[in-house]
Symmetry: C2
Subunit: 389 residues, 2 copies
């Protein structure tokens, strides 16, 4: 059966060029980057080069990048790292953090954990498109606020947040600003020098790189307490024998992302737009997220009287890989916190579908989905007690 992968926001296939770049580091150049001998030197050189490639995608300095085990770890290092630094140093700042109601669990859960430890967290609300309410954010700032963490682009509905503006506000108030850019990197041009961002999380497996590798941009002079202690790798901020093949793959993925971004995004956007037009042709279907300020590869719908999980499974039977929202919460029963935050009723939030496109999708894929989706929706509605017909 034909298989069409449209869940690139969950994870991507690893690019063939990325695999080729990684392979020699498994079996030939397999040294520990901390070793003094020639095997170690090779590994250390590769580590350096890859750090350069990752920094380049943000127009950052090599010294501002540390490698981690993934986006979730990067978010945790950033948020808890700044929180504990602030707590330990007893700055003039109190224990107040500002984030948004639609962050990824990798940001929300560390915040909830910090709340249990006496930190106070404000979850700023969003409008019906998922845009963070800037007024509310500004009004939430107090002399106690030491950290703002707002995602670059939302993983479920694709809405792109006003990071430049939030960075300006954070900077004016002398507040550290972190952004989870896991979904944005490789899809949007990011110039860290034009943004007042202090910390930025990246992940390799969202940009055709390997799973198990992430990075954190840490602006010079921003201090954090490490989460993991040990041999002192990554400037003491993330001890662990460096995952050289994974890091080399991440570097190559960043290089490819930069080289291909303009062409890829044009192509993917035109496919996505066609897909949205086709899907909105279905009766009582609605697009979630911002109509323009959204990731080029994201299409997120609500279909009345449909149960999202049944839709995903039925589409999977037809060879189409899609999701209701984030993969992380796909096996949980609660409706998406993102969809509730943009004002959907719980029963509507359950009827959602995310199709996230990637490099390898073709117009034939779109035509196939446009063909199958209305049938599947019709089939499920026939069985739905909520459907009018």
């Amino acid at each position: 059966m034909k298989r069409i992968y449209m869940d690139h926001a969950a994870t991507t296939p690893v690019d063939k060029e990325v695999v080729d770049a990684m392979l020699p580091y498994f079996t030939n150049f397999y040294g520990n980057a901390s070793s003094l001998h020639s095997f170690g030197e090779e590994a250390h050189y590769a580590l350096d080069e890859s750090r350069h490639n990752v920094a380049d995608v943000l127009n950052a300095e090599r010294e501002e990048i540390i490698f981690t085990g993934g986006g979730t770890e990067s978010d945790n290092i950033a948020i808890k790292g700044v929180a504990f630094e602030n707590k330990d140093k007893r700055n003039t700042k109190g224990p107040h953090i500002i984030t948004s109601a639609i962050e990824h669990p990798a940001v929300l859960e560390p915040c909830k954990h910090l709340e249990k430890q006496g930190f106070k967290v404000k979850y700023v609300s969003v409008d019906k498109y998922g845009m963070v309410k800037i007024d509310e954010l500004e009004q939430s700032i107090s002399k106690d606020t030491f950290l703002i963490s707002i995602m670059y682009a939302n993983n479920e509905i694709g809405t792109i947040e006003p990071i430049e503006e939030i960075g300006r506000i954070a900077s004016e108030n002398n507040i550290v600003f972190h952004t989870d850019a896991v979904q944005a990197v490789g899809k949007l041009p990011i110039d860290i020098n034009k943004l007042n961002v202090d910390l930025l999380s990246l992940s390799a497996h969202k940009i055709y790189g390997p799973k198990g590798v992430g990075a954190l941009f840490i602006k010079k002079d921003v201090r954090i307490v490490p989460l993991v202690h040990g041999g002192g790798h990554e400037r003491g901020l993330r001890s662990s024998t460096e995952n050289i093949p994974g890091i080399v793959g991440f570097g190559k993925a960043c290089e490819l992302a930069q080289k291909r971004m303009v062409k890829d995004t044009q192509c993917i956007k035109s496919l996505r737009d066609r897909l949205v037009r086709e899907a909105l042709g279905i009766e009582e279907s609605y697009l979630n997220g911002h109509p323009e300020k959204r990731l080029v590869n994201n299409a997120h719908f609500y279909f009345a009287a449909i149960e999202g999980e049944s839709l995903i499974l039925r589409l999977s039977d037809k060879g189409i890989a899609a999701s209701t929202g984030s993969a992380c919460s796909s096996k949980k029963l609660q409706p998406s916190h993102v969809l509730l935050a943009i004002g959907l009723k719980p029963e509507h939030a359950h009827g959602s579908l995310r199709l996230s496109l990637g490099r390898e999708n073709t117009i034939e894929d779109i035509i196939y989905v446009a063909d199958v989706l209305p049938e599947v929706v019709k089939y499920l509605r026939k069985m739905s007690p909520l459907w009018k017909g």
Copy 2:
């Protein structure tokens, strides 16, 4: 030039079979294990199978294994996880931890970090062979002791600790027992059911698996606070999109380790014994670590009047990859804490050489090293102001 790798305690090449097992998961079965569609199912199945393989190497249950980003992270999760659980729950236990003076930094540094937060840590000393002093350990136990962390085998000198005995003591005193078994797994048969071990750290890249993957055995009913919060992966104890290719590689490496352990250890031990005999033929050379209770692949020497770093670099020039001690500390200037703990003077600790053998080493490698090493030692001594001649 011939290149001989004898630094397997730092890291190993990835076995060809392991790479072959991983490859399909980069480009074909690349789904997110949390996704509901068929790509997700494939990933989830692989995750399950690999967990089984890793559990098997310890004779543990699948449900007792969580995957991590490496041995250092496993140690940190275990130690901090139990510490914060104990602190939060305010058990009958106070804030006392017992560990040894010769642990890896992945254990020592978390302990030092906890000391800054009010925990009290006892670093039990070792004898001249690096064996933990059991009497001292027992005498250190108080009603406040909630955790003992002692490594299974030392990463520098290869000494194997009396884990069964320490486990019995911990159990009798109702204390959680963690062991860093990163160096022991795959080299020693480990049956978790015969040991009173509550937590055990593993790493893939020490057993011909990929870097960037580790695991933690957590006995049923042992509770820990997670270090990283997010999507709730690995029973909520290590949130992060699972590194499926890496985990598959780890599973395969465990399978191979089990299958080959008897044959590999016999072969490696005989090569190592020959190497030790040859090296001890050099004037004023000494073996560090226990003469019998040591890892079969470990040979660790002290050569009088030699600077270890020069020795490593000179050997590297001759194509031999070796180390002074752990890779983690190989670029630091301090003498090894392990060598100081077994009673070497700082100037002697600087003259150390670790040769750690692996599967691919041959008798020709040993003959070559036995040929080159005396020459290099002689050459360096000629230039040494400390050498008598």
